[in-house]
């Protein structure tokens, strides 16, 4: 069996940033395994701009952002196993993978999981009707158009107004398709306001809120969809349905962290995030196994993925050097009123300032977040607005954390 200090599963932005951070922290025996023939993960198909403003201070497209990190990996001569599919990770950190040469087994001192996420499919939605060609998840269509040069359709309806759906509305329009509508089940869009402006309004594409697709029509090829408004329980309202002719339906209905490897390994999961439960250095509850990026929780901005992955890389490097000694006393975290989840789920209180990441349950106007432990207030943060589509970050100061007791709870109050 081969041996490496740190094995990274997945070479997307998370895997690359983790590898570089671990290496720069002094553990140079790092390898990356990815099933694709190049580094970059999902960014290779995200050809639009808007990446890197926060992290690199300039606005890049997805492939350019990926290339910044791919170069850092190359400069450090970090080995990458391409077209190598990881099939299992054991709790004692044996990573099994297969590629053209056969089966590869590596004993690692630390493993970083960075497998990203995949899209929810039609099957997960239970839309009734026939099963014609012309129905794609938005990300699949994005890959077909941007990487394979295959235009998926001419007349399009998009279900779901998250950022990927909005970006694809613009992309399809630029390529000459007519986007008839973007339908959103919720009463608000999950996407960034800037994307509603530059992807829909710029092209005169209507956004129908509280609306969903209730039926799919067509035998060989999609011929149209029936859409209807929904009530507050998200059930279609009778009498509101109408037919929209189209040859293509794109589904942009959410991302699911790709955690099959994590679950088979027996790593405890957070049912809300769909990712592993981790501490402030991104270590799961199985010692020596770390997780970062979209496999941990879905991020909207790749810049935050890179930040998180750097913490995981440093954490893994420190773990390799210090081993078990790095485990301290833990505080648990909890999502209180108005907050859907908090990552990390637990934290050590004696390791410096700790950033908490969270999403709110619904759109709010002006809000105040309060972080408490027992009867002690650890942090207060005000925001002019908060929305489920935008991840919030709150920093807890070491000085207040070190003698905190009890569960760290984040709640919000609308002002």
């Amino acid at each position: 069996m081969k041996k490496h200090a740190i094995v990274i599963v997945g070479g997307g932005p998370a895997g690359m940033a983790a590898a570089v951070a671990a290496y720069d922290r002094g553990v140079t025996d790092v390898v990356i395994l990815d099933r694709e023939p190049r580094l970059g993960g999902i960014l290779q198909q995200c050809i639009h701009n808007g990446f890197g403003l926060h992290k690199l201070g300039r606005e890049l497209t997805g492939p350019e952002y990926a290339d910044v990190y791919a170069q850092q990996v190359a400069e450090r001569n970090i080995p990458v196993f391409y077209e190598t599919m990881v099939t299992s990770v054991s709790p004692d950190r044996v990573v099994t993978a297969r590629n053209r040469e056969g089966i590869l087994k590596i004993q690692a001192e630390a493993v970083i999981l960075a497998m990203g996420c995949r899209e929810r499919s039609r099957g997960a939605l239970n839309i009734c009707g026939t099963r014609p060609a012309g129905i794609y998840s938005a990300g699949t269509a994005q890959k077909l158009i941007n990487c394979d040069g295959y235009m998926v359709g001419k007349r399009v309806v998009i279900l779901g107004s998250g950022d990927i759906g909005l970006i694809m509305a613009r992309r399809m329009s630029l390529e000459g398709a007519k986007v008839e509508a973007v339908c959103e089940l919720m009463s608000y869009s999950g996407g960034l306001t800037r994307n509603i402006v530059q992807c829909l309004e710029d092209f005169g594409i209507p956004l129908y809120l509280s609306t969903t697709v209730v039926q799919i029509h067509g035998q060989k090829r999609l011929e149209g969809v029936t859409v209807a408004q929904v009530d507050e329980n998200r059930r279609p309202i009778e009498g509101t349905s109408r037919f929209i002719p189209c040859d293509t339906l794109l589904l942009s209905v959410g991302l699911i962290p790709e955690n099959e490897l994590t679950q088979v390994c027996g790593i405890p999961m957070d049912p809300v995030t769909g990712g592993a439960m981790v501490d402030e250095r991104c270590m799961t509850k199985v010692s020596g196994i770390f997780a970062c990026g979209n496999v941990l929780h879905v991020h909207d901005l790749v810049d935050y993925v890179s930040d998180e992955a750097e913490r995981a890389g440093k954490g893994a490097a420190d773990f390799v050097r210090e081993g078990k000694a790095s485990e301290g006393a833990y505080l648990q975290t909890k999502a209180g009123k108005g907050v859907r989840y908090v990552v990390p789920q637990q934290l050590r209180k004696d390791t410096g300032d700790v950033d908490l990441f969270m999403r709110v349950t619904q759109p709010f106007g002006k809000v105040k977040f309060t972080v408490t432990a027992g009867d002690k207030v650890l942090a207060v943060a005000k925001r002019l607005k908060a929305a489920p589509g935008e991840m919030e970050r709150i920093t807890l100061k070491q000085a207040l954390l070190q003698d905190a007791e009890g569960t760290v709870t984040v709640e919000l109050e609308e002002l």
């Binding site: 050809i47 350019e64 306001t193």
Partner: protein, 115 residues
């Protein structure tokens, strides 16, 4: 005249108001100078960066992603796309390589390495 404008320069998406009086535009609601510049542009000469793809003749990776080096007038986006559809490129291509010169006063550059 008063116009509500959402800034698209960064993910914060500040809600701004522009008051237009003759040749002058007064902006409020922005959190940084970039927002003000964007709002003034929106009222005078709205521009956008266009990102797209161009076909590669000689590689298994058949598309290279490209962008306008500087933003182009908003109304010219369809024209830019039409010009890109007409051309193909030969690998190797590096990030920043010029794919097309002089498109509405800027260049089209590659955003992906195709080796």
């Amino acid at each position: 005249m008063e116009r509500k404008i959402t800034c698209i320069i960064c993910p914060r998406g500040c809600p701004m108001t522009a008051v237009i009086e003759g040749d002058s535009v007064k902006v409020s609601g922005h959190s940084c100078p970039k927002g003000e510049e964007y709002a003034i542009n929106e009222c005078t000469n709205p521009v956008r960066t266009v990102t797209a793809t161009v076909r590669v003749d000689n590689r298994r990776d058949v598309m290279v992603s490209v962008k306008t080096e500087n933003p182009v007038p908003k109304g010219s986006m369809a024209d830019v796309m039409a010009q890109l559809r007409k051309i193909t490129v030969q690998a190797p291509i590096h990030i920043g390589d010029v794919v097309l010169e002089d498109v509405f006063g800027t260049k089209i550059v590659a955003t992906k390495e195709i080796l």
